[in-house]
């Protein structure tokens, strides 16, 4: 059986979590490539349309962090 590789979209806030993810990158922390980061200017921008659209496009999980 083929190994399950979840597809995850992370909506990260430009000012905090995206900066933190950048820092994780600069510190060469390993992050599973299943996570696909989409930068937004604030996590409060994320509404139900965007969440449903993301699932509709095949996401197995969504991370909203801000």
């Amino acid at each position: 059986m083929k190994e399950f590789r979840p597809k995850i979209v992370g909506f990260l806030c430009n000012w905090c979590t995206y900066a933190a993810a950048d820092l994780a990158g600069a510190s060469k922390q390993e992050i599973n490539p299943s996570l696909n980061v989409v930068r937004v200017m604030c996590s409060s921008r994320i509404d139900q349309n965007l969440l449903l659209n993301t699932y509709y496009n095949g996401a197995d999980g969504i991370l909203v962090a801000g």
């Binding site: 993810a21 950048d22 060469k28 200017m41 409060s44 496009n57 996401a59």
Partner: protein
């Protein structure tokens, strides 16, 4: 004009090049099915942010007539503006470009080269699809007013006024009392050298009065302020004649409204009447500066004086920073007045934050002053019941009690915060934009908070804050220069807005107002920071987040999920 998408992959020296297969990325991108009908320019470069790299990119955009640009490189937090500047040098609108972060978010966090390469392709593909949906946005340039309104004529406001006027900035300094000086005018001597406070202060007041660039309004309060960085319309009112208002224009507002001292009589542990010999330290300061010594109401010198630290600290929930050294100073002044007076300090913690404090503490200890560390105390008149650190209940009867009470926000703080749209901290003081990296700014651009209004501060820190806010204003408002507000802002589509006002509640910047005639909400683009909070909360979907529109994000999401 036909679409011509330019994709430039930066190798970032070995940083990206060694972690992903650049050639494979280029090849995969060029073969993307949904881009078969588009003209693509796919190139890589060793270091796009270098002088040579920037020239290369500029030339490529011009020579190929690129209409949509994707730069796959480091974090947009590092170089987004760098590449936007390059776009500006060409025919390309900087908002027709998208940066894809294949360094921090891919190359550096994905050890498996094959996986990293695949992920980079997905990410770039997301950027390519997104950029096709992007729209050219134009920057606006607004005139800005370099003048400054300072609310509060205490030592904080005065220092800011003098600093700003030193560079010929016009300053409006408003003070609700009839005289300038604030709390500092009530102090007798300043630590550590005990220079006389009033001399320092009078010098500053006369400098202000003689300065042609500072317009002082005493007995005056702020009535209203509307606008944004560079353009505030302000109304001030006469405290004694509230209907007498004056209109002013300023580019920035400095809030220097100071603090108040907690009244110890409100505390459960203080059973004190007005005529008891119990004073807060500021009242003692006034006694010292008017009569030159400490005396009781019957005109006699007290034989025994107790100074109590941390009064109200558990109730307010924070340390007021200056009271320990302050009470040490008062104790020293009493001993200097008469070595016969028995002086005791009842303290819980000794807070000595500045480099000279420890030395001062040692000096005071050598003057026959008793120090008792306590856990708790209950005051009845001038009788003290306290628990010492061995949990033993003790009693003390003195002639006079001096309290080091907590510094608390002024009564007007909340009202002014609402008027200026600045946030309050849970302690009730104004909230800074960032405690560490932006300590005198607030959540509203162009509004600064300094001194005791900011939280408990000594004079040294107040001076630093006043000078810092002045520096911020010098760099943000340059006479003759225009200001460029954020372009990636929210826009409310008139036809769809139902006038429910939800967005007015969620906007943290006060950037949305309601047009009663049209019955719709409108975004003030000069104040909006483009967070998109209103977009997410709008029930009718009538708000567009420019440069972060739904179609743009849908495209990016769709491609990164492939």
């Amino acid at each position: 004009m036909s679409e011509k998408v330019g994709i430039f992959v930066c190798e970032c020296g070995p940083n990206i090049a060694s972690k992903v297969d650049i050639d494979k990325i280029k090849q995969n991108i060029s073969e993307l099915e949904d881009f078969q009908d588009k003209e693509l320019v796919v190139k890589n470069h060793k270091l796009l942010c270098s002088v040579e790299g920037k020239k290369f990119l500029e030339k490529e955009i011009k020579d190929n007539n690129i209409t949509h640009l994707v730069v796959a490189a480091c974090s947009p937090r590092d170089h987004d503006t760098t590449f936007m500047e390059i776009c500006k040098k060409t025919q390309l609108n900087p908002f027709m470009y998208q940066m894809v972060n294949i360094r921090e978010q891919c190359a550096w966090v994905t050890p498996d080269k094959e996986q990293a390469t695949k992920k980079a392709v997905r990410m770039i593909h997301g950027g390519m699809d997104r950029v096709l949906y992007q729209q050219a946005l134009e920057e606006k340039h607004l005139d800005s007013n370099p003048d400054v309104l300072i609310v509060g004529g205490g030592i904080a406001g005065m220092e800011a006024a003098l600093t700003l006027a030193g560079e010929d900035r016009l300053v409006f300094l408003i003070e609700k009392n009839e005289k300038l000086g604030g709390k500092s005018a009530r102090l007798t001597k300043l630590l550590p050298r005990q220079g006389v406070s009033l001399n320092v202060l009078h010098q500053k007041i006369s400098e202000i009065e003689n300065n042609q660039y500072i317009k002082v309004f005493t007995n005056t309060e702020l009535e209203s302020a509307v606008g944004f960085l560079g353009n505030f319309e302000i109304e001030i009112k006469d405290v004694n004649k509230p209907d007498k208002t004056t209109e002013l224009l300023a580019g920035a507002i400095v809030v220097a409204t100071g603090f108040e001292l907690l009244d110890h009589k409100v505390l459960d542990s203080y059973n004190v009447k007005t005529d008891d010999e119990v004073y807060n330290a500021l009242e003692i300061e006034e006694m010292l500066s008017t009569s030159g010594k400490i005396i009781m109401q019957n005109g006699k010198e007290p034989k025994k004086v107790a100074l109590i630290h941390c009064v109200g600290r558990p109730e307010v929930g924070y340390c007021s920073k200056v009271c320990c050294t302050y009470l040490l100073k008062v104790a020293k002044l009493i001993k200097e007045q008469s070595s016969q007076i028995e002086v005791t300090q009842l303290y819980k913690h000794m807070c000595l934050p500045h480099k000279q404090d420890e030395n001062f503490y040692d000096k005071v200890q050598g003057q026959g002053i008793k120090f008792i560390r306590i856990k708790d105390s209950i005051i009845k008149g001038t009788k003290i019941d306290y628990t010492d650190i061995s949990d033993v209940k003790q009693k003390m009867d003195v002639d006079m009690i001096i309290t080091g009470t907590a510094m608390i926000p002024t009564k007007q703080t909340k009202q002014l915060a609402e008027e200026l749209n600045i946030e309050l901290h849970e302690t009730g003081f104004y909230q800074e934009a960032h405690l560490k990296i932006d300590p005198v700014s607030t959540n509203t651009d162009g509004v600064f908070v300094i001194g005791g209004a900011h939280g408990p501060t000594g004079i040294t820190e107040t001076m630093l804050q006043a000078q810092a806010a002045s520096g911020k204003i010098f760099t943000q408002l340059i006479p003759g220069e225009k200001i460029t507000p954020e372009v990636k802002v929210s826009e409310i589509l008139e036809a769809y807005c139902t006038g429910c006002k939800t967005c007015l509640d969620v906007c943290g910047f006060g950037a949305i107002y309601f047009d009663d005639d049209k019955g719709i909400s409108i975004v003030n683009e000069a104040i909006c920071r483009g967070c998109g909070n209103c977009v997410g909360s709008c029930p009718s979907g009538s708000i567009v987040s420019k440069h972060f529109t739904n179609p743009q994000l849908y495209q990016e999401v769709k491609e990164v999920l492939r």
